[in-house]
Symmetry: C2
Subunit: 222 residues, 2 copies
């Protein structure tokens, strides 16, 4: 069955038309979120990563429209005020946000959008788009393993790692706000689980907006 | 991650303790439900088929405790009256029902139970066990294909097939009562989709009853 939503009541191969969904992955840093996101995006033509707008300057190597859409403060504030951002936040006096129009267009066309955001962004998305939102929280398998990953990655001082562990603890306190929880014991298994969540959510009755017409045709005597 | 729920806060391999779920598959006959059920049960040690009780006599080859638990009318009526059946129905003056005790024990132990029942049974399960219920409706890809499958299977008269098509149409009118809808275009793909639904539902936050303790331990400084 097709995951795309074009055609009279369905996809090009006879599947049923579907509304897209918003898949949020959150986790403390070091729990495997980035690896899982990349794996999901690879080999799934129907899933695209949401590109945030930001007021901060591009860093070396960052591309406009790929890593972020870089906009000025005036435009950012105007978008926030007009309700054109599904979620937004200030980090070190820079604005970051998710533009509404692109997401709405994707969902209406039956395409799914992946978000790599924290619990605060997830809460804001949930207030505006609850029915379209599928939220997944990824937990590390143990405190020791999280600490090891943070060390390995950052080569940081013990103090920095301690500060990150405290941040991780804070982030993890929000697990009860998520629909699904993956404990990342094994990255391959966690990727498989995330794919199953995405696939299952695509099959939810209310997302398959072409079903009523499809079943009407099935039930009509030939 | 383990799907079983033994151990202090989790499964034997360090996973999180989980409450089992009730997976219902319904479809008009000829849509592929039996094939999908068998495929799900094969190679999934944590899923078992619910065995119904019935007052009808065993048919040649049927085994007590495997195909059904055969009980007398007095016992059946007593179970129904006492609320010991999660759902029950009369078909050609025989009683059929799902005993509550076995299902409750399985769910508490973190094991999942598969039900091959119609929309009436599904409605009754939903009234009693809504939080544990995951319901999937399987649709045929087209009227012509359903008719072909009914012909092939039954070698029946045109009249019998017409009667079955009418029954199928009636059954299909209940698709809006189900959580997930699979259009069975390809049996291999449909099996894969049913497996994804089962896997995803196992990862739902509220089913992972050991999570609170697990996260408490993660958040405690070492």
């Amino acid at each position: 069955m097709s995951n795309s939503g074009s055609g009279p009541d369905g996809g090009p191969d006879g599947g049923v038309a579907r509304r897209g969904l918003m898949l949020v992955l959150s986790s403390p840093s070091g729990a495997g979120k980035t690896t899982i996101s990349r794996a999901l995006l690879t080999g799934d033509d129907n899933l695209t990563l949401s590109i945030s707008v930001t007021t901060r300057a591009p860093r070396p190597g960052e591309q406009d429209g790929v890593d972020y859409r870089f906009i000025d403060r005036g435009r950012f504030d105007a978008m926030a005020k007009a309700g054109d951002l599904l979620e937004h936040a200030e980090v070190f006096r820079n604005g970051y946000g998710t533009p509404r129009a692109e997401v709405e267009a994707a969902l209406a066309a039956g395409r799914d959008v992946l978000f790599d955001i924290d619990w605060q962004g997830t809460q804001q998305l949930g207030e505006k788009m609850r029915d379209d939102l599928v939220s997944v929280f990824i937990l590390p398998p143990s405190t020791a393993e999280l600490e090891r990953r943070l060390h390995e990655r950052a080569q940081d001082s013990a103090e920095t790692v301690r500060a990150r562990m405290a941040e991780a603890s804070e982030e993890m306190s929000h697990w009860p706000e998520y629909d699904y929880i993956i404990v990342n014991l094994d990255i391959g298994e966690s990727v498989r689980q995330a794919r199953s969540i995405l696939e299952a959510e695509r099959l939810k009755r209310d997302r398959q907006v072409g079903l009523r017409n499809f079943v009407e045709r099935l039930r009509r005597p030939q």
